[in-house]
Subunit: 242 residues, 2 copies
């Protein structure tokens, strides 16, 4: 999302090189041909800490898959457990059905983006935005093990609002059956980050246009109790913390 | 992004039925097989006013395309001009190259999502989020006509910050050549919207868990002038308006 030419390019391992598993705590995801950007490669990051922090700050991803040869991108809730993402949906939804049994899995791309600021430059060309994004490529599979499914749904709820899963009625057998969860291992993963002010051309600096950054962030408002709330229930601490 | 079963389903026209053009002011995009959701169809909307309002409120979309048979989803800046989206990138970026000459175009799916609130239900199952999203299916083409390209880039800048394109140095020939713009006509388009509180089961309403909505919205902070700002330039009104 900018015009800055690439300055350096990470080494791409030969095809077939495997990304590390979560065991043994390797600190970086191994770049692959499709996780090294064609441009602005200096903005790419592969370390787990950075990737996980970006993933943990959000809860809506954009799930991409191919249907009848054409791309489909749908907003979807997710949660992270270690080196695995869980994505949420109904058993009737198209991507989740496609990821079902028989289980070759579904090729997906999951992208999470946080916008941090509008970058205003003296020139139209150097306008940009500050952002942090993570792109995950891989094969998603339906979660069928009941224990993993329950844990995944708890993780999904807690990812949106930490502590909430313990403060709600757990899903019953019928609800669990009606909910589909797919998992996607974090193996082929990259983050991309732009920070800082505009990169104006030196000859433009004297132009009379305001240049700088307008920060932006999601802000939570005052909780609105449900009409059906019944007896007054105090706002839980995890809500106020948001 | 919820569990509510479908209540009604829009009529799907027979294949080959064409979506209306922007001339003659038809008020609705014609639903197609892939713009009618498999679930929560009561949340779908096709009227231009709703779709355009959602598109105009954002400036980052998630652009999906297929590369080597696999889906790719990238955050991308966009602007809208009438019934057309313009997407921005570098001439070196993969999707823009793929959408270039010779020009069969590139099958894309462009999705814009606004999160409006976290919906907390008594049961884990009925947790949801309030959101407004637009999904556009179609074929993207590179913009090559210099006049259309210039207008598209102005629209992109003004989409992020209305009024800004007139208050920055326009792109020169070299910059225009280094920027690729793709266009995507709004023909196969749908919006999906969830609003309101949780849809709890009647038998759960007495449970002691807080239920309701935690609103969320992007909020703009105090503008940060660039270090290279030079002489003090007052904040423009379009910036303060954000």
């Amino acid at each position: 999302m900018s015009q800055t030419p690439s300055r350096r390019r990470p080494q791409i391992p030969s095809p077939g090189t495997d990304a590390p598993s979560s065991g043994g705590a390797p600190s970086e995801y191994v770049p692959t041909e499709r996780t090294v950007p064609t441009r602005s490669a200096e903005r790419a990051a592969y370390d787990r800490e950075t990737v996980h922090a970006i993933l943990d700050e959000g809860y809506v991803c954009h799930l991409g898959f191919v249907r009848d040869g054409a791309p489909v991108v749908l907003p979807t809730l997710y949660g992270r457990v270690g080196d695995r993402l869980y994505l949420h949906g109904s058993t009737g939804s198209r991507p989740l059905r496609a990821a079902g049994q028989p289980d070759p899995g579904l090729a997906v791309c999951v992208t999470v983006t946080h916008v941090d600021g509008l970058v205003l430059a003296k020139s139209a060309f150097h306008h940009s935005i500050n952002y942090r994004s993570v792109v995950v490529h891989g094969t998603a599979h339906q979660v069928t093990d009941p224990e993993e499914k329950t844990a995944a749904l708890d993780a999904l709820v807690d990812h949106v609002l930490p502590g909430r899963s313990a403060d709600s009625r757990p899903g019953n057998t019928k609800e669990l059956a009606a909910t589909a969860v797919i998992r996607l291992d974090l193996r082929e993963v990259s983050a991309k980050i732009r920070t800082g002010g505009p990169n104006d051309e030196p000859e433009d600096l004297a132009l009379p246009h305001w240049a700088g950054v307008l920060p932006v962030a999601p802000v939570y408002g005052t909780p609105i109790p449900a009409d059906s709330q019944g007896p007054a229930i105090p706002e839980p601490a995890y809500l106020t913390a948001r």
